[in-house]
């Protein structure tokens, strides 16, 4: 018995040694994803998308001929886990770029990755990650710069500003009450979650800018499936519009409870609350819900979507096609962005952390990626907000229709340049 075990163990370790040595030229990329944690409702699909997109990039010739080796680990939305995984990726696997996930861990790791000069492309679009230079806020507090944090999308704060502006102009101004009184905003989000609370300051600022009232916030957990007490709390305030700052599952629960308790309001969803699953979960309550999407829906008729679908079918045949979400295309956008940054840096002969940011990303000026439905991206040494046009969609009768595309930079150029960067 013991001897047999010993033989198996030897065989196993031999197999490890044989598998160990890698192919000639390869670039190691780490990924920290959430497959099991509080945001796995959107994280699972995203994680699959990352692996599929990397396979696509490799089949297209990789980074100027060098293949990407992806080391992908699940951290269950737990920050201590993310830290140990990051250290492992940095010191043992020696990756040169990390594809990260949540706001809590990305912001927490931000000082560390800045010190390590590790480009960190995150699925967190927190505005706190957009200023490469150190900056001072209105109260005179210093904030460190985050020069190595990057992502393809508009940031959460811009999303919130854009959604509120679109609602104010396209929905509120057409209502009977418009002009008679000030509309009122209430925010539903998990206070303790850095992701959900990231854009709250900005949306309240935007509400003041548009001349709206703001009611008191309601704390809704990311894993909430019952939000009746919060809806009852909000009902006392008579809001006209609610901002939902969580991910799909709890946003849908809140929308459903508003519907069930007869609270007639408009719903605004941040991009992680707004996908193909939202109407499935919220059902008839989803009618008229407004949300942000800065990338195409899964299966939408845009450039490269055939490849997205082909790779999804090839690599993950076990996942039914109708279960795939726009999270996949979000992952593709971040991977294609990363590949472009690395290609540029490689061409400049400087495939290091600093080179990838300075000679890769920050040379992109209105760069259009192959994936359709994603706006051209621009990064500069002073501003890592890649785009300023916020696409606000409204769900109606089984379809996502574009309600408005709000160009924040064109509308408020002064504020966009000077005031809004970094929060």
């Amino acid at each position: 018995m013991i001897r047999r075990l010993f033989i198996w163990l030897t065989a196993f370790s031999l197999a490890l040694v044989l598998v160990g040595p890698a192919a000639a030229e390869e670039i190691k990329v780490g990924a920290i994803n959430d497959m099991t944690g509080a945001t796995s409702d959107v994280g699972k699909d995203y994680a699959l998308g990352i692996a599929e997109a990397v396979a696509y990039v490799n089949d297209q010739g990789g980074i100027n001929g060098k293949k990407i080796k992806l080391i992908q680990l699940d951290y269950g939305y737990r920050i201590p886990e993310a830290i140990t995984i990051y250290k492992r990726l940095r010191d043992l696997d020696k990756v040169i770029v990390v594809q990260g996930w949540g706001t809590g861990d990305t912001e927490a790791l931000s000082p560390t990755i800045t010190r390590d000069k590790m480009p960190y492309i995150s699925a967190s679009y927190s505005a706190h990650l957009t200023s490469p230079q150190a900056w001072k806020d209105k109260d005179g507090k210093d904030h460190p710069g985050t020069p190595f944090n990057l992502f393809f999308s508009s940031d959460y704060s811009s999303n919130a500003r854009g959604a509120l502006t679109a609602w104010y102009e396209k929905v509120w101004k057409k209502s009977k009450e418009a002009g008679k009184r000030k509309p009122k905003l209430v925010c539903f989000y998990m206070f303790a979650s850095p992701y959900a609370s990231a854009p709250i300051k900005a949306i309240k600022d935007q509400a003041a800018l548009l001349g709206m009232e703001v009611g008191s916030d309601q704390d809704v957990s990311l894993t909430a499936i019952d939000t009746k007490s919060q809806v009852l709390g909000a009902r006392k305030e008579n809001p006209d519009v609610i901002w939902h700052g969580n991910t799909t599952m709890s946003c849908a629960a809140a929308i459903r409870d508003c519907f069930a308790l007869g609270l007639q309001v408009s719903h605004l969803l941040n991009n992680w609350g707004f996908d193909e699953n939202m109407p499935r979960l919220a059902q008839e309550a989803a009618e008229g819900v407004i949300g942000i999407a800065q990338c195409p829906l899964y299966g939408q008729d845009v450039a490269l979507m055939d490849q997205v679908i082909a790779y999804a079918k090839k690599l993950n045949p076990g996942v039914p096609q109708d279960k795939r979400l726009l999270r996949t295309t979000q992952a593709w956008a971040n991977v294609l962005l990363m590949a472009e940054g690395m290609k540029r840096a490689d061409k400049a002969g400087d495939l290091t952390g600093e080179g990838i940011v300075k000679k890769g990303f920050e040379t992109m000026n209105n760069w259009q990626m192959a994936l359709g439905g994603v706006a051209p991206l621009t990064y500069t040494a002073g501003d890592h907000r890649p785009q300023s046009v916020i696409n606000v969609y409204q769900y109606s009768k089984g379809k996502f229709n574009l309600l408005d595309a709000v160009d924040l930079k064109a509308r408020w150029p002064e504020k966009w340049d000077k005031e809004w960067l970094g929060w």
Binding site: L16, V19, G20, N33, M35, T36, A47, A51, I71, Q72, L73, D74, Y75, G76, Y77, R78, I79, P80, E81, I83, T84, K87, R88, R90, D91, L92, D93, T103, G104, D105, E107, A108, L109, S110, P111, T112, R115, D139, K141, D142, P144, F191, A192, S193, P194, S197, K201, D219, L315
Partner: protein, 355 residues
């Protein structure tokens, strides 16, 4: 007294209670000290130091849990709350009042200790399962309510913020590299362990053990059980607070998500595996929980080219291992790794003529 402790005779209580009774043991402890404070930090790579810092942070967290559960019999499932109080106290004192980091650590301990006493008050009336409920309440009231709603308002930084580089320093020595973090955590762990071990062999420690073994008998012997229970909560909270403050150095960032309820549960798991009622148990449990999990990852990552799904399934495996380890230990080794260590040590102490 010579090299082996066979036939050691004590004439005074002082000798009986001494930590390192023979020259052999003293030699071993010096070697251990050299290993922890010189050999490891000077030779190990960043990854190893990071993993060992994680071990030290786990030890610091579990010490308080061990004191409450293992020595005083007060079951707690909300210890992460006191780590959070310590972490936030230290961070805010540094940022708002510009106090030096070293000074904020004991202050964080005192704040967490007093906060812990507040949630220890119900222990005067309730025991066992009911106490689990009140300590769980500590977790949710502290982290999800007080910190996210009110503490986050202090200074207007919100719930999650990072400390500017160079904020955390001891004198001219900036705590930033993995090595300096390791040193800070290792020294804090050593100091707190020595302090707690000393406390446990004093009058206070004996009172705690008496309460754990039978609180009614303890009271009948004249021990003021409410006082000593609250003292246990204060001490555990103090250690937790210092742990939270020291743990801040690992990231230079803090948010309520750093202190989830799962972490409280994890710390209880650590002492169950290590052995309840033993300081060795805290160390063995923490080493086991951190290093075994890292070792699992080592085995998995080379296999990912063949089984690409494996890495993504790792957390399932980790959680399953955690549950399995606790179940296996409760069934086959209810006294934990510390007991096994004691047996191994005795075997070699008596070898080759065990009697």
């Amino acid at each position: 007294m010579s090299y082996l402790p066979c036939g050691v005779y004590h004439e005074f209580y002082k000798q009986d209670q001494a930590w390192w009774q023979t020259r052999f043991v003293r030699g071993k402890m010096i070697l251990l000290g050299l290993l922890v404070f010189a050999v490891v930090p000077l030779t190990a790579g960043n990854y190893t130091l990071g993993a060992l810092s994680e071990v030290a942070y786990t030890i610091l967290g579990a010490l308080g849990v061990q004191l409450l559960i293992g020595y005083c019999g007060q079951i707690t499932l909300g210890h992460a709350a006191f780590l959070a109080v310590g972490g936030y106290t230290s961070a805010l004192l540094m940022l708002q009042l510009h106090l030096p980091y070293v000074l904020t650590m004991p202050l964080a301990g005192v704040a967490a200790g007093l906060w812990s006493v507040l949630f220890g008050l119900p222990s005067a009336k309730v025991k066992g399962f009911y106490l689990i409920m009140t300590t769980m309440a500590a977790q949710f009231i502290t982290v999800d309510f007080v910190i996210t709603q009110y503490v986050s308002q202090v200074g207007g930084r919100g719930q999650a913020f990072s400390l500017p580089p160079g904020t955390m320093k001891i004198g001219p020595w900036v705590i930033e590299s993995d090595r300096s973090i390791y040193y800070l955590l290792a020294v804090t762990t050593a100091l707190l362990t020595l302090a707690l071990a000393n406390l446990l062999r004093s009058r206070v420690g004996r009172a705690w053990v008496a309460i754990r073994d039978n609180d009614i008998a303890a009271e009948a012997m004249g021990i003021n059980i409410v006082y000593y229970k609250l003292l246990a909560f204060f001490t555990a909270g103090f250690i937790g607070g210092v742990a939270g403050a020291a743990g801040l150095s690992r990231l230079a960032a803090i948010s309520p998500e750093h202190f989830p309820w799962f972490w409280s549960l994890w710390l209880v798991g650590v002492i169950l595996i290590g052995g309840a009622g033993s300081l060795h148990g805290v160390f063995f449990g923490s080493l086991f929980m951190v290093l075994v999990m890292e070792a699992l990852k080592f085995a998995l990552v080379p296999l990912t080219p063949i089984f690409p799904q494996l890495a993504m399934k790792f957390l399932f495996l980790k959680e399953a291992t955690f549950g399995l380890a606790i179940a296996v230990f409760l069934i086959y080794e209810p006294n934990g790794l510390a007991y096994r260590w004691w047996q191994i040590k005795n075997y070699f102490n008596l070898w080759p003529f065990s009697y």
